[in-house]
């Protein structure tokens, strides 16, 4: 039943049996078995796991050098222009800047391993504790916003992409592009300002800033909205474009050749291919939303990581807090990137092999 293989006698149509060389396996034997998938996952997880560790180590190094790279004498710079000599020396010993660099690095890494970034200059509390108190606020709004961006952005982009295929609904194409371009070009902090103006100042239905007088949910609505709109605009535009591109693939023509109903063609044949490219492209947008969160928070005096880190830089020069906050935000973005790769692997096992762009 199977194909003629070079191991066998020469195939009947090739004539008599003349010394067939000891050639290797059949060219047409169909390749992979079921086990290859598990093996691909194992090597993927090993590789990405190692990558994760290396990235975290790089992050530890980067946060360590935040203090080291301050031009001139870091201790003087941190203590400020008006500081007395004693104050400068105090900063120096607290940050360990009087010790050799290697010594500082090892004790810094040792500290980080135990969750110790030093004590906040301003509050005297452990820096990580301050960061961990603020983190849930940031994670709450960023998490909701990321989910909104993915769900709304992908659905909207796909719907518009399908509705405007070919020359259909040119008006929708034009107005979608116009609205989304404008929405994308308004920075999140500006959207935040405008939302405050509309909902807090004019309509006075929502609090202009985080306040215990209102519930956490009411206070969170505006920050989440400000954070999501831009992302929704970017993601939906990417998805719309990818929808158009994917629809022109040969396999979509094959699906049309099978005369499949539109819904099945889009939901089953288009979506999985679309998600792969979309997720690959959206990864950067999602992590950048963490960055936007930092600034949006300050508009609403939202007591999250953004407010914490900006106050620490701009006002307090509270370096242990800066280091802890930067480490924490960086770790989250590394984690998001990792999760996206895992989801990609589940949707399309081919991406497990490594490069997919």
């Amino acid at each position: 039943m199977s194909l003629p293989s070079p191991h066998d006698e020469p195939p009947s149509d090739a004539g008599g049996a003349v010394g067939a060389a000891h050639a290797p396996a059949t060219p047409d034997n169909g390749g992979h078995r079921a086990g290859s998938n598990a093996a691909a996952w194992r090597s993927f997880l090993t590789r990405r796991g190692l990558g994760l560790i290396v990235n975290i180590l790089l992050l530890v190094l980067a946060t360590f050098f935040i203090v080291q790279l301050i031009p001139g004498d870091p201790a003087t710079a941190i203590a400020g222009e008006n500081a007395t000599l004693e104050q400068v020396e105090q900063v120096r010993t607290e940050l360990g800047l009087d010790r050799p660099m290697w010594d500082q690095l090892t004790s810094y890494i040792g500290g980080v391993a135990q969750g110790d970034f030093g004590d906040s200059f301003r509050y005297g509390l452990p820096a990580l504790e301050l960061v961990l108190t603020a983190a849930p606020y940031t994670l709450a709004i960023a998490g909701v916003a990321v989910s909104l961006v993915l769900v709304v952005g992908v659905t909207l982009g796909m719907a518009v992409g399908i509705a405007t295929r070919g020359d259909r609904n040119a008006w929708l194409d034009r107005s979608f592009t116009a609205v989304m371009s404008v929405m994308q070009s308004i920075p999140p902090y500006l959207q935040a300002t405008m939302l405050v103006l509309i909902f807090a100042v004019w309509l006075a239905v929502l609090p202009p800033a985080y306040s215990l007088a209102y519930g956490t949910v009411e206070s969170a609505l505006l920050p989440i909205a400000a954070l999501s709109f831009g992302g929704i605009a970017s993601v939906s535009r990417i998805v719309r474009r990818e929808t158009a591109v994917t629809q022109e693939m040969d396999y979509m023509r094959t699906a049309r050749g099978w005369r499949l109903p539109a819904l099945r063609r889009f939901a089953k044949h288009l979506v999985p291919n679309l998600l792969t490219t979309t997720l690959t492209l959206s990864g950067i947008i999602l992590t950048s939303m963490l960055g936007s969160a930092i600034i949006v928070e300050t508009v609403f005096a939202w007591p999250g990581l953004g407010t914490t880190v900006i106050q620490a830089i701009a006002i307090d020069k509270d370096y242990p807090v800066i280091q802890a906050a930067v480490f924490f935000i960086g770790a989250i973005s590394i984690f998001i990137t990792f999760v996206i790769d895992v989801i990609l692997g589940i949707i399309d096992p081919r991406t497990l092999g490594g490069q997919h762009d």
């Binding site: 169909g30 202009p208 005369r259 992590t287 960055g291």
Partner: protein
Amino acid sequence: MTDAVRLPSDPAEAPAPSIARKRGFVWNGTLITGLAMFAVVIVVAVAAPMFLGEQATALSDQPNAGRGAEHALGTDSLGRDMLARTLVATQLTVGMALAATALAAVAGIAIGVGVWLAPRRIRELGLRGIEFAVSYPTLLVAIMVAAILGKGAITAVFAIAVANTAGFARLTSNLAAGLSSRDFVTTARLMGVPPHRLAMRHILPNMSEPMLILVAQAFAGALVEISGLSFVGLGSQNPSFDFGTLLDDALGKLGTNPILVVGPAAALVFTSLAALLIGDGLAAAANPRSAGTRSKLLRLTPSAADAAAGSSVEAPEAPEGLVVDARRLTISHAASGRELVKDVSFTIRRGEILGIVGESGSGKSLTASTVARLVPEGLEARAASLDVAGTDMLGRVSPTELAQRIGLVYQDPGTSLNPALTLGSQFSDVLTSRLGHSRKEARARIVAGFRSVLLPDPESRLGQHPHELSGGMKQRAMIASAMSTAPELIIADEPTTALDVTVQREVLSIIKRMNVEHGTSVLFISHDLGVVRSLCDRVLVMREGQIVERIDSTDQLTVDTVDHPYTKQLLAATPVVTVDALDAPEGRS
């Protein structure tokens, strides 16, 4: 005048293979709008400080004024005119953003090229480093730099430049990697072109389009980010001011004097929108999407048909035993009206294999797609009549009927199967959705089909993805799928072109077997006269959209027996294996 059928088809491949893809720049509205808006921004940035500089910093006795005749956008707490301040701030804001973008581009491209030029190990390491840097939020990197260097305008520029460098480095190294596998780079390298000249001559010039797009996008990003830094107090410091600081001032008085926010907000959005539009416009110009009109399949009215023919055409009456009866088929490009297939008529009898041969641009594939009622986007097909197995393809035809009449096999088995779905899943769709089979029945039918095309281990193929099969096996699976609806006609468009010759023969023999065993007619498109000669019963030779010769017996397919000079030329050009030793030219043995 016509009985139009709007096909439920979607954008297909390129409008027509024969339309030469002209490389070049296509201006578009988006780009022009963006450039015009940006020109306004530049003019304001240059002129405003010269003419309004004093007004913007002059204190007046009207602090915190609202909207008024004297101050269109109000005044700040020191009584300075907000409109003038906004216009003057354009220079600093745009200047900082431009500087940051330029720095990031130069540094990023240099790093990208450097990584590409470096020895393999360093390159791997460099690429990893770039990936690591890119996965960070730009603003976090910017804040780290600000933490190191302290706050201020120059710090902000530097911080945003550093943060955006990774993006440029990644694009450069990705593009360079893609380009360096292109033949012209490999050849130049082998010729002995030194690496740095390779980069300057071949790599950088060929990445200018995507790079310009990224520059525009990065500028929009830098503008927003720098203003963001100023907004939170890390950017430009008193007494200098940019959009961000103005916005920060306005935010504090949002409750009392909201008009203040209008100036900087509008300016920021306007500038950022200009950059985004330029980016979109450049992307569209570099990769123009043919705004193709929907495809159409129309019936020539009898009078039009007569007029065109110049003689009376006997009433089309489908004779018994014809599976395809196509009369006066013309396909034209809807926008230009150019005819790609001109007045083609042919029939296919039951159980017959009809071959259409021709070179690229002959219209053979378009003819086949039209018979399948899959006219590519942007094209318009007209015919006096087009019947497939007794169904009028110019009228309303249900998808079920289409699926039962016609099975399709495509040229490249590598791209025509859905990479994300298993074979069982994608092949069973037509059977469950159009033929009413249960999932189980459908899968059993497909396994039977796999067995009949001699696919080894048919049951386990159902769970495999296309990439797990070789090209020949994919094409056999495709034939099995096309046969699964028991169609009366198989349309095979160059089904073996992408395959090795020995695999080609296996696939051809399977097509032949399906034809013999099931009596399925075949419309076989090919450029290879040798293949057509041995597979087909009759052959049409097409050239530039017309049938130049009809050959009713493939025995007649020799230089001496064909009539048309083009067919003779084609036959003469087709390479032949000469097996008689005496025929070998002298001096070659």
